[in-house]
Amino acid sequence: MKQILVLILSLFFIFSCRKDVILKLPTYQQKLVVEASIETGQPAFVLLSYSVPYFGNFDLSHPEQVYIQDGFVTLTDGTITDTLKKIIFPNIAIPFYIGSKITGIQGKTYTLKITVKNNTYTSVSTILNPTKLDSLYFKGEKDSLGLIWANFTEPFGVGDFYQWFAKRLTKDVFYVLPFNSSFDDKFIDGKSIHFAYNRGDNPYNVQATKDEIHPGDYSWGDTVVVKFCKIGRKEFEFWNTYYQNKSSNGNPFSAPSNIKSTFGNDLEVLGAFVAYSPSFDTLIIKKK
């Protein structure tokens, strides 16, 4: 469908003119941004920040201006309540809230409560049964560089949602989410398919990613751990609208997309609490 854009763009090429303009945007209402997760065998992990006006000053070199230091976060599994502790990562000075009493157990449902400036927001998520990939392989498109492909037999029954993370051992600090990392089984229900993902951008590492010669590609010699997670519908809807928002990126030909938060109050909260049910696979990319 995007090829339609090619036509429009080629017309612009012939006729159009471009100029810088100064926009008078409507007054912006700041939102609470929540990145919260729990996964099998891991404690809950929460990152709280504020969104900023478009023409405001967004400067991560002063993380205290962006991240929320005084949030109060609790997690409960129905019996135990865990108050998450604030930890500041030494190198990047970003405050995280991390659980200590509860680690994720398959089949359990968790309720996350966040209180910031006397406002409380709640979201619920369940760790589902994991689904495994059949196998992984590397396909080089430019000799040594390429994507990771997966063979996958999707279990029968529509209504399953997945998310793909991957990390190069020794190279990446975090698991990286490539673009459109989540998908559902609408078109592939019960089928055997193969699909590929690129490496994605390293978080907080914009310049470094840009400086790489081949950003997004895996290469010979990489050892890659793929974390393939099953997630719930509400969580998928968040990721789906998040990626739609990313891809529309101000594009006038796409519908403006508001992100569906799992907290329900989209005018005040952006973000999700996601319970992940992962299965891990490791691929060592060898020289042919």
Binding site: Q3, I4, L7, I22, I193, N240, Y242, K260
Partner: protein, 813 residues
């Protein structure tokens, strides 16, 4: 209520039996035999008037007596005829062209006061000759662009023929080409309309007070009639323009009895743009469109006439990238066919039977390596219509009829395969439905001052099987499937649509009118993007999608000046719209797999209000109009914009247009268009947030951003050489020479026989004269590294068309 109806029929029948005779007939253009639509027939002594219907037929009744009857139409000479009315008489009149010098037009052409006298409000009839004088974008005469210059009708900016009438969406306009509906009236993503000006005779826009014979859309009717074809002589007409060429052939098959017209148009943008595109990133792109209009008619006798007309148009876009082995083809277009039979039962009863077929198709196919995907969508409509006009006496004109359409909608069907694996996109979904309507209306002269048009339309829409409804639980899993067999009723809707307009004459040149109309619309257009694309999807009503419903209230004051040379009007309106449709946030139109496409939509309401001011000068050397609209257009959807009301993207507080044409001499004609409008509304990112270590946009409220105002000036000049005068001069010179040489002067030939009637004209038009950069869209830019505090944000505005001169050569022989 019952008493009122009884009284009404009593009044009608009393007047039916009074001693009246009728004058009826058909009015035509003598030069080519084309019927004249909307011509005025006027009985001077009684101050009674009627106008011809879309087949050129009129009927009037009057008591026994001697009368002066006047036939007039804006582009023809007005004639008067003395008649003795002592029996029903038939007068078929053939209008003669206005052959006097243009400077004398004012004397000869008398404008009518129909706009003041009619009950109908918001009706604008445009003659093709009038449209052709207005500056056209890239020299392409465009009906849709012209009607966008009228008050109450808004455009959506450059590069868009979609129009918005009184706060309604682009799907709420019923566009009829020779009675067959057109679903997508634009070529090249809305840059040009599908109507080839050379094949069109007449355009009528009804933007309010829709009479009962029209229905199925909420906001307006754009009724376009194709030419019938010259039944007097064979004629070739054409034009060569900057981006396309046109050729029209027409002529009699049997003189005065039958004629044909074939008109074709093709663009050569693909050829012209190729050198530029090949050097750009868009190498491999090709695009063109063509369209073909054809019509044939046969006059069986005075009472029977048949017409067969058709339209076929296609846009073809292709892109091939040899490097990435990616290929795509996107063809789309409309096709219509219509067979009509006019029958005049007697001088008071006219009937028309039409059978029509409409098709709209869109397809997309893409191929890369072993992955192949195809998306198809379309509509097929089969319609039958029977309409009767009955003119029982001078006070009443009844219209009644029945319409029926069988719709087959194919919303979006996707198929894809990768090597041997075929992806499951579910069964091909087609939606079948019957749409039927019956109506009756009466145009009633209650007294000299008061005239009423009352109508009632009953419409029904039934979705039938085969159809599968998937029942899902809250997690989205299918728990059950309800299957409907062939012709089993899935959903059924019907409604009464009262239509009422009343005119109260203040003087002979001024009146007050009011109208109320209620309309149902059983088809919806859902658009994912903020501009009209051929990917927009038409959806019929289903169990989930309810019919759109509008109530429109209009009040207007009409006044003509200087013997109807100037028409002026002020209309205020308030409109409500229920069951408006939008895609849910995050919906994908291809989500058909074990799902019903209607689940992708969300429903809301809309309302609009405003005032329209119009001044038109109809005759003289200077003609044209000034239109101004002040309006508000709102929408509200529970699932969009957090449930808050928002202004529609084409909400426009101020909208003004100034259209002027100047017939300087017989040779030179000048045209000018100036438009000004408050900027469109859009949704832009309003904030930033950080997620997964990456910066994302947070969109502001729906349509909360207002683009800068739009304004533009276009000019054109047409030079028409007076070839006949030149030929005469040459003939005179030759005659003198022959006489001198003592030769026979009887057989002097100054030109080839075929070229005897040759005429041509040259038009130079300049679009966007002062090179205004009107916004087409805005995109935001980001530079620097937010982690290092060097982030810089900005905005760029893309404007589509700078100053664009174009040149067209038109010919006729």
């Amino acid at each position: 209520m019952k008493k009122i109806i009884t009284l009404y029929f009593l009044l009608v029948f009393t007047s039916l039996y009074s001693q009246n005779f009728s004058i009826s007939g058909t009015l035509k253009d003598a030069s080519n035999g084309e019927t004249v639509i909307g011509a005025n027939v006027y009985i001077k002594e009684l101050n009674k008037a009627a106008s011809t219907n879309q087949y050129g037929f009129y009927s009037l009744s009057a008591p026994k007596g001697n009368y002066t009857i006047q036939f007039s139409y804006i582009t023809f000479k007005t004639v008067e005829q003395q008649i003795v009315l002592d029996k029903n008489i038939n007068i078929n009149y053939n209008f003669l062209p206005n052959e006097t010098n243009l400077t004398e037009v004012e004397v000869n052409t008398k404008a009518s006061n129909q706009n003041v006298k009619n009950t109908q409000m918001g009706v604008i009839q445009l003659d093709m000759a009038e449209i052709k004088k207005i500056p056209a974008f890239m020299g392409e005469v465009d009906i849709l662009k012209t009607i966008q210059l009228l008050p109450g009708v808004k455009n959506a900016g450059d590069g868009n023929t979609g129009f918005y009438v009184r706060g309604g969406g682009p799907d709420q306009n019923l566009i009829l080409l020779d009675e067959a509906p057109i679903y997508n009236a634009s070529h090249l993503l809305g840059f040009f309309s599908v109507f080839n000006g050379d094949a069109i005779k007449n355009v009528t826009l009804i933007k309010g007070g829709m009479p009962a014979q029209y229905g199925g859309r909420l906001s307006s009717v754009l009724d376009i009639q194709m030419k019938e074809g010259n039944n007097q002589k064979f004629e070739v007409e054409g034009g060569i323009g900057l981006i396309s060429s046109r050729l029209t052939l027409q002529g009699p098959i049997v003189k005065n009895k039958s004629s044909f017209i074939i008109s074709a148009r093709r663009t050569y943008i693909d050829v012209l743009a190729k050198p530029f595109i090949d050097k750009s990133d868009f190498k491999g792109t090709s695009y063109f469109f063509y369209d073909l209009n054809a019509k044939f008619n046969y006059i069986i006798n005075d009472k029977n006439r048949v017409f067969l007309s058709g339209y076929f148009g296609r846009d073809k876009f292709a892109f091939t990238d040899n490097e990435s082995k990616f290929k795509t083809k996107i063809p789309w277009g409309n096709a219509t066919a219509c067979l009509r039979w006019n029958h005049i039962f007697n001088n008071k009863l006219f009937a028309n039977l039409s059978a029509s077929y409409t098709n709209y198709d869109f397809s997309f196919s893409g191929l890369q390596d072993d992955f192949e995907a195809t998306i198809k969508s379309g509509i097929n409509d089969y319609s039958l219509k029977y309409d009767v006009n009955y003119y029982p006496n001078s006070r009443h004109t009844f219209k009644t009829g029945v319409h029926y359409t069988f719709h087959i909608f194919t919303p979006t069907n996707v198929s894809a395969k990768q090597g041997e694996t075929t992806f499951d996109f579910g069964k091909k979904i087609q939606l079948f439905s019957h749409e039927a309507a019956a109506y009756i209306s009466d145009d009633w002269d209650i007294s000299q001052r008061i005239k009423l048009n009352a109508g009632l339309r009953f419409s029904n829409f039934t979705q039938v099987g085969p159809f599968n409804r998937y029942i899902k639980n809250f997690t989205g899993k299918i728990t059950d499937t309800v299957s409907y067999g062939l012709n089993k009723v899935v959903a059924n809707y019907n409604g009464l649509e009262p239509r009422l307009s009343i005119r109260f004459s203040l003087t002979n040149s001024s009146s007050i009118k009011a109208s109320y109309t209620r309309n149902f619309q059983y088809v919806h257009l859902a658009s994912l993007s903020s501009v009209s694309l051929p990917t927009d999807i038409w959806m019929p009503c289903t169990e989930v999608i309810k019919p759109q419903l509008a109530n429109l209230y209009v009040l207007g004051y009409f006044k003509n000046f200087k013997q109807n040379t100037f028409e002026t009007s002020v209309e205020v309106y308030y409109k409500t719209m229920a069951n408006q449709i939008e895609f849910k946030e995050g919906a994908q139109p291809a989500d058909n797999v074990f799902d019903n496409p209607d689940n992708a939509f969300t429903f809301g309401k809309g309302w609009a209000y405003g005032a329209e001011f119009f001044v038109k000068k109809r005759t003289g050397k200077f003609t044209g109009w000034i239109g101004y609209t002040l309006s508000w257009t709102w929408r509200q959807f529970t699932e969009i914009n957090y449930g808050q009301k928002f202004l529609a993207k084409y909400d426009r507080r101020h909208d003004a247009s100034f259209v002027l044409t100047y017939d300087a001499t017989k040779k030179w004609t000048f045209g000018m268009v100036f438009v000004y409008g408050t900027g469109n509304r859009g949704t832009l990112p309003n904030g930033f947030f950080l997620y997964q270590g990456s910066l994302s946009n947070d969109y502001g409220l729906r349509n909360s951003y207002k683009f800068v105002d739009y304004h533009r000036l276009d000019l054109n000049v047409t030079y028409t050489p007076n070839r006949q005068a030149k030929l005469q001069k040459r003939k005179n010179t030759l005659t003198e020479q022959y006489i001198k040489e003592g030769k026979d002067t009887t057989n002097i030939q100054v030109t080839k026989k075929w070229a005897k009637n040759f005429s041509n004209s040259f038009t130079l038009s300049v679009f966007n004269v002062y090179n205004r950069y009107n916004p087409y869209f805005i995109y935001l830019t980001r530079k620097g590294d937010f982690t290092a505090g060097t982030l810089q944000v900005g905005a760029k505005q893309v404007s589509l068309f700078p100053i664009l001169p174009s040149f067209t050569w038109n010919f006729k022989f």
